[in-house]
Symmetry: C2
Subunit: 430 residues, 2 copies
Amino acid sequence: MKTYMECSRDELLSLKASLEEQFCTEEAKGHSFNMARGKPGASQLAISMPMMDVINGDSDMNTLLGNDTRNYGDWDGIGECRRMMAAVLDVKKDNVIICGNSSLNIMYDTVVRSMVKGVNGSTPWCRLDKVKFLCPVPGYDRHFKITELFDIEMINIPLGEDGPDMDMVEQYVNHDEAVKGIWCVPKYSNPTGITYSDETVRRFANLKPKAEDFRIFWDNAYCIHHLYDDKQDEILNILEECEKAGNPDMVYVFGSTSKVSFPGSGVSAIATSLANMDYIKKFMTTQIIGHDKINQLRHVRFLRDMDSLKAHMGKHAALLRPKFEAVLNTLESELGGLGIGTWTNPRGGYFISFESMPGCAKAIVEKCGQLGMVLTEAGATYPYGKDPQDSNIRIAPSFPTPEEMKEAAKLFTLCVKLASVEKLLADMDA
Amino acid sequence: MKTYMECSRDELLSLKASLEEQFCTEEAKGHSFNMARGKPGASQLAISMPMMDVINGDSDMNTLLGNDTRNYGDWDGIGECRRMMAAVLDVKKDNVIICGNSSLNIMYDTVVRSMVKGVNGSTPWCRLDKVKFLCPVPGYDRHFKITELFDIEMINIPLGEDGPDMDMVEQYVNHDEAVKGIWCVPKYSNPTGITYSDETVRRFANLKPKAEDFRIFWDNAYCIHHLYDDKQDEILNILEECEKAGNPDMVYVFGSTSKVSFPGSGVSAIATSLANMDYIKKFMTTQIIGHDKINQLRHVRFLRDMDSLKAHMGKHAALLRPKFEAVLNTLESELGGLGIGTWTNPRGGYFISFESMPGCAKAIVEKCGQLGMVLTEAGATYPYGKDPQDSNIRIAPSFPTPEEMKEAAKLFTLCVKLASVEKLLADMDA
């Protein structure tokens, strides 16, 4: 098979005509697909509906320790929920605080707290001339939005197969006092699906930050979100590694059940050192009397322990796999060998990351939009929405059905082909 | 009857001996009562348990508009919940954002946002040399803790029968640019139970703040929390009054169902102008994808509309009244005519405010502690925990049973008497 790059101008023109015809045909059909966000599909939501039955009007509402979940108290979460989320995040119960329905909100609060009052007594970031965060790219747009909102300068760090470019990370963190944090999705990364290698985690733990208030924001959003039973990524325990390396306070670990039970109605958690927790406590107990403990109880009574949690996640995986496979098979059959795109083949998480030819991502997403297909905005996976190569597109296959996903993937490849041909022709004419 | 002030030294000494004997007797009994916080009692929690049945594993989880509450979306709350909380707060639905389980958290977020990024584009408060808040006293300790945490200077404003001293409020707000806010619990005030008069509300609405970023923090926590069917306070609509006065953006109204359904598992709301909402949206949509919409749905399906809400609040009132009456009757029978204390007789809310002789509150609370009775710390109703007269004590009668409350109130009066006698004797000796 000939790649597009090997085609002559005339071949490309003829290809373009044919693709445009297909495009018009599809446009006329009035499709409607949404692959923009990591939203679980209806079939996934259904598997957590029994959770709505574990608490009813006659239920005992007390925790194992006898505290009434219906009243004020237990600001850091009920014991059994702390224990469960500790198991999920592979940390000790005493290092866990259960929060509300959103781990993003904990991250936001953590950044805001550091802005106004500093980190464990350091100078508040809002008093500094410059605060910088490292941003492995492509990454999660909502992380970048938080640091952007607070005028924190974001620095792109290339994300490879084993994690962020650690030479660059070390260079920045160990020598620039303005670097106060780094956003990480260490397992089944959003959007590339990679998992940090043991060496990467150890190099993180062994950073020698120039800034005492430097923190790793370790968003372990997909820690138990495997797609396969037999092919699963494992990741080293960052809290333990930081402790071993003499950096016990350097990391905040975040997680939630948003993609275990229900997005927006789950429980979230932060895991960190006891010293960090002491500092956080001062703020959190001023901010709120306590989070929703009834929902914590509901989750524990439904999800129970790691064995049943794994079984539950297996059901999610069984529903997600065909959607991922529909995309991956279509990408392979339609684009394989054409040289106009590469993509990831993740073993977990919620996304497939697509790399087009440089300068084509925006055009592809725009064309998809014309066909009635909503994708994450091109550029969103980079700070400030600026993808320097204009090549990364995040595909979220979870929401449509597998059949829809197959059709949508086909349309996507059509847009990739057309945008690529147009780009190649434009380059020839330039 | 002779007041304590009219007693001779010998009479006081003899009184003291007798009170000390009673105190020892009670101390030996090992009582255990908690009247520290506005926690609903077990019987109150029970009346909301049917809410646990309105959603089960077979329920339709869609909003009236057909949005799935189990998935991401509706960052500002589901329509029917916005409508319900708008009715509760006496505002329009379009002016309401539904948040998480805690209105305190919304207030905290509002202060923090203003610290880091200012108010609708004003200079961030953290960049100013001085930021001040007015604090009607006695007031709610958790309000004061928020402003204290962020080093905002708090200024005491005496709270009378009709609300804060508005001459003082106007003097500060209209002439001091550093004054950026005021904490208000305008109805069934915490702890005195008073409701702001129409004139007070109108004077609030007609403030001419020196600072463009001055805001009224209107915590309408007890807006539908009446104790009686026939004696109910009404309050003017502050949002409307501010609009009429040409100050549409000057107020944030807060409320929640914490004392309607379950403390810690309710829904909270902020109501404010559309311009303020636009600004808040920028932050809130970065902070969180959305709040717990299943819990919103659960609340709407259980509480339904204002008629059923009023009936529901009537059940709370029926349970609370005997507790309040137990305290009030005991205070009257034990302390009436002694001249050593005054107290409020609220028509709603969660507290009775007790004023001892100056310099006795700490001693009373300490003595109560010795008898196994936990009260809100003396001073807590003032900024920085400093009650200049050392006279205010907040009594929260909601948690114990009426029988317990009667016994506890008796013990409380014993401690009041003893502390007062000790104070009078000490003053004589000084």
